[in-house]
């Protein structure tokens, strides 16, 4: 998900009380391995599922590999990065 997110970033994720929208970064359960949490960007939402893609398609395993993810797997939206200090800011 670079450059939007870097390994080791500390971020706030929250349920936003509505479905995910295109362009947002969401926290979701990997449909292949539900205990694994992932952060991906929403590329499309349709029929109770969303297509998610990494920001670096050549290195990302995303909906191209595991298909659209049911909306029930989406746990929340990434809102804010609070560390590292130099990169504090909203994630939209």
């Amino acid at each position: 998900m670079e450059p939007a997110l870097w390994a080791g970033d500390w971020i706030v994720v929250a349920e936003v009380g509505r479905g995910p929208r295109v362009g947002e970064i969401v926290l979701l359960r990997d449909p292949r391995e539900p205990e694994r949490l992932m952060l991906k960007r929403v590329a499309a939402v349709a029929d109770g599922a969303c297509t998610v893609l990494g920001d670096r398609p050549e290195e990302s395993t995303d909906s191209r590999a595991f298909g659209p993810v049911p909306l029930g797997n989406v746990l929340g939206r990434a809102l804010f990065r609070y560390a590292p200090i130099g990169r504090i800011g909203w994630l939209w």
């Binding site: 670079e2 992932m38 990302s60 395993t61 995303d62 298909g67 560390a83």
Partner: protein, 145 residues
């Protein structure tokens, strides 16, 4: 220090994924499945209890590896466009992975042979889907042909 501990996130999510090397070949699964086949043969030919115990342990490992390679092929190599063109691949991979589990617990040569046949069917689709050209380093393909 205290503040940092307080603010430290409690949940870790992965934002980056595996970097795929892009090399996929059903042969990898086949070799493990062949090991299972040969191990069952050797098990049946032996009267050495220690050897037979080791054979079972190793066969289970090999069957698990075959399953792993089939899963990787299915989840990482085959893309939606392949599935559209060769819809049978979903069931082939699924059934082959299940057959690996069967071979894991079986000492029936027939089960191991069935697994080999299933992997060969996956290899047919992989070849038709351009796998050899798309995934193997050139020299390797030439050496296999």
């Amino acid at each position: 220090m205290f503040l940092s501990r307080l603010l430290k996130p409690t949940v870790t999510a992965s934002a980056h994924c595996d970097l795929p090397c892009g090399v996929y070949d059903p042969e990898q699964a086949r070799i493990e499945a062949e090991s299972c086949y040969k191990i069952i043969e050797k098990y049946k030919a032996s009267t050495d209890e220690l050897f037979k115990t080791r054979a079972i342990v190793i066969k289970e490992e090999r069957a698990e590896l075959a399953k792993h390679h089939i899963d990787v092929l299915w989840s990482d190599y085959f893309k939606p466009e392949h599935v559209q063109k060769y819809p049978e691949i979903t069931e082939l991979c699924w059934k082959a992975a299940k057959q690996c589990s069967k071979v894991k617990g079986s000492l029936d040569l027939g089960d191991a042979k069935t697994l080999l046949d299933m992997i060969d069917k996956i290899a047919d689709v992989w070849t038709k889907a351009g796998g050899p050209q798309a995934t193997r380093v050139q020299n390797g393909v030439a050496a296999r042909a």
